[in-house]
Symmetry: none
Subunit: 303 residues, 2 copies
Amino acid sequence: MRVVIQRTGLSADVLRAWERRYGVVAPDRSEGGQRLYSDDDVERLTLLRRATTAGRNISQISALPLPELEALVAEDETLRASQEETPEGRRHAAHPFTDAAGRAVERFDVADLEAQLRRAAMQLGSAIAVDEVITPVLRDIGDRWHKGELTPAHEHMATAAIRRVLAWMSASALVPHYAPLAVVATPANQRHELGAKIVSTTATTEGWRVLFLGADLPAESIAAAVAQSGASLVALSMIFPEHDPGLVAELARLRQLLPPHVQMVAGGPAAVANQTDLVAHGTRVMHSLAELRVLLRSLNPAA
Amino acid sequence: MRVVIQRTGLSADVLRAWERRYGVVAPDRSEGGQRLYSDDDVERLTLLRRATTAGRNISQISALPLPELEALVAEDETLRASQEETPEGRRHAAHPFTDAAGRAVERFDVADLEAQLRRAAMQLGSAIAVDEVITPVLRDIGDRWHKGELTPAHEHMATAAIRRVLAWMSASALVPHYAPLAVVATPANQRHELGAKIVSTTATTEGWRVLFLGADLPAESIAAAVAQSGASLVALSMIFPEHDPGLVAELARLRQLLPPHVQMVAGGPAAVANQTDLVAHGTRVMHSLAELRVLLRSLNPAA
DNA sequence: TAACTATTGACAAAACCTAGACAATTCAAC
DNA sequence: GTTGAATTGTCTAGGTTTTGTCAATAGTTA
C-alpha cells in the first residue's frame, strides 16, 4: 500500500475512494484483508493520475482499458508541454548571472561579462540564457545609458561581448547538414542587427541551419537569397523605427516575391506595432522568442 | 549474532521476530542452540531491510527468493532516486535527445551522437544534459551490451564521443582564475575514468577550477597534488569493484594525508556500497550529481 | 561469573480497513 | 444569477492487522 502511494502519487484516501466508487482496480487481499496491488494495478493507477491531473475526470476514464488510457495520457501531456512556460523559476535561476553581468558591464570587465554569459548558457540552457540574461542585460544597458549612468563605450563593449557569446552558442550547436534552412535578416531601413543575431542563434539551437544576411536589406535581396538557398523560412527582426510607413509595404512586397510554401515571420517592437497589417499580408508576428521557438519546433520535420 | 546485527542494521529482536513469524531465514544452530548465520542469510536480511525501509511490508516479501528480492529492491530504490531528483518535466524535455542519441549509437553515427549531446547541453543546460541524457545513454549502452544487442565497438565509439562532449562543456565554461580548485581522481584499483570526467565537468560548470588526475591513483599521489596545487576539495569517483577490501583503508589513509580543511567527497556505486565506513573516516558520500552540485555551490565563496 | 542469546507471551504504535459524512467544484436547468 | 444535483477529494470514527519492542525466564559461551 505504502509503495503504491509512493509510486502513483495518490493518497490512500483517493486510492480507496476510486476503488470503491469506480472500481478502477480490484487488488487481491491479504489474509487480514489488506490490499495487495499488482504491477498492472500500479501502472493503471499511475496513468489515471496523470490523466486526471491533466484535467480529465475519473468517472469518465475509470473504465478505459490500459492501452487507450496510455494514448490519452500521451496526447494530453504533449499538448500541455507545448503550451507550458515557467517564468518564475527560470528568472530566479537566472538572476545571479544577470546581476553579475550587469556589474561586469559597469566595471568594463569584458572577460568577466563574457564568462558570465557563457556560464549562464551552460547552466541554464541557451533559451533561458537568451530570454532571462542576455535580453535583460541589453535592456538594462539601454535604460542606464538613457539615464546617463553608462556611456556609449559601455554599450559597445557589451554588445561586442554578446555578439561573441551568440556566435559561440551558434557554433556549439552542431546542426546536422540535413536540417531545414532559415534565412534571417532585417528589412530595409531597419539598422539594428543584434536582434537578428539573437534570432539566428535561437534558430540554430533549435536545430535549424541559418543563412544570416544581416541588416537593412531590400525585399529583392532577401527573396533572391531564399530562392538560391532553398530556405523554408524567413525570419525578420524589426526594432526601430517602429512606425516607418515603408515597412509594411516592403514586407508585403517580400511576401509577393517569395514562393507560397516559404513561411515568413517577423518579431520585435516594430513588428508588434504593425501586427494587424503584417498578418493581413501573410506574415506571422512573434511576440517573444518563446513563441518563435515553438514555431521553429513545429516546422522542423527532424524534431 | 552481534556481527549480523551490525551488518544488517536490524535489531536482535527484529531478527528473531522475523524468523519466528515469517521464517525469513533458517540459520544453523550451535550445539547450545545459538544462531549461526550464513553469508546468504546476511545478504537476504540486508535486502529485506532495504525493502522494508522502502515501504514494503515483510509479511508480503518474506517468502520471496533472493534474486526476486534483489530485483525488487533495485527497482524500488532506483525509482525513488529518479523520482526525487527529476521533477518530471526535465525528463520529458530531455527524452527526445536521449532517444536520438540512443539511435545514433546503434547506427554508429558518431557525428550525430555528438551533435545530439551538444544540442542537449545547449538547450537544457549542462546539468540536465549530464543527468538526463549522458548518464542514461551510458547506462542504456551498458545494458544493451550485456544483452548482446551492442558490441564493444559501439561502447568505445560512444564513450569517445561523450568524452569529447564533456571536454567541450568544460572548455565552454570559462572559469575565472580566482575560482576555488578541486582535485578530481579515482582511487587506487578503480580503473573507470569516465565517472571522474563527468564529475570534473560538473565541477567546472559549477564554477570550480579542476585539476583532473585521472584513474587508479594511490593516496600519496593525490595528497601530493592537493598540497602542491592548494586545492580545497578532493572529489573521487568510484565505480568498480564495489567491494574491494583495500578501498576503505585507502581512502582512510588519504584522509590522514590531507590537511583537515580540505573536504573529501566520494560518489559512485562503490562509494555508496561502503557508505558507513567512508563516513566514519570523514569522507562525504554523494548519491547523485545533484547532491554534488549542491555541495559545490555551498563551498564556492564566489557564488 | 559476566555477558550474550533463546523462547515465549504480551503490548502498543503504526498502518489499514470500512462506512459515512462533508465541503469544494462543476455543470445543467431554471 | 441562482439553484440544485452530481462529482470528487478529504476527513472522521471505530475497529482490525501488522510489526517493532519489551519483559521474564532460562540456557550458553568465554
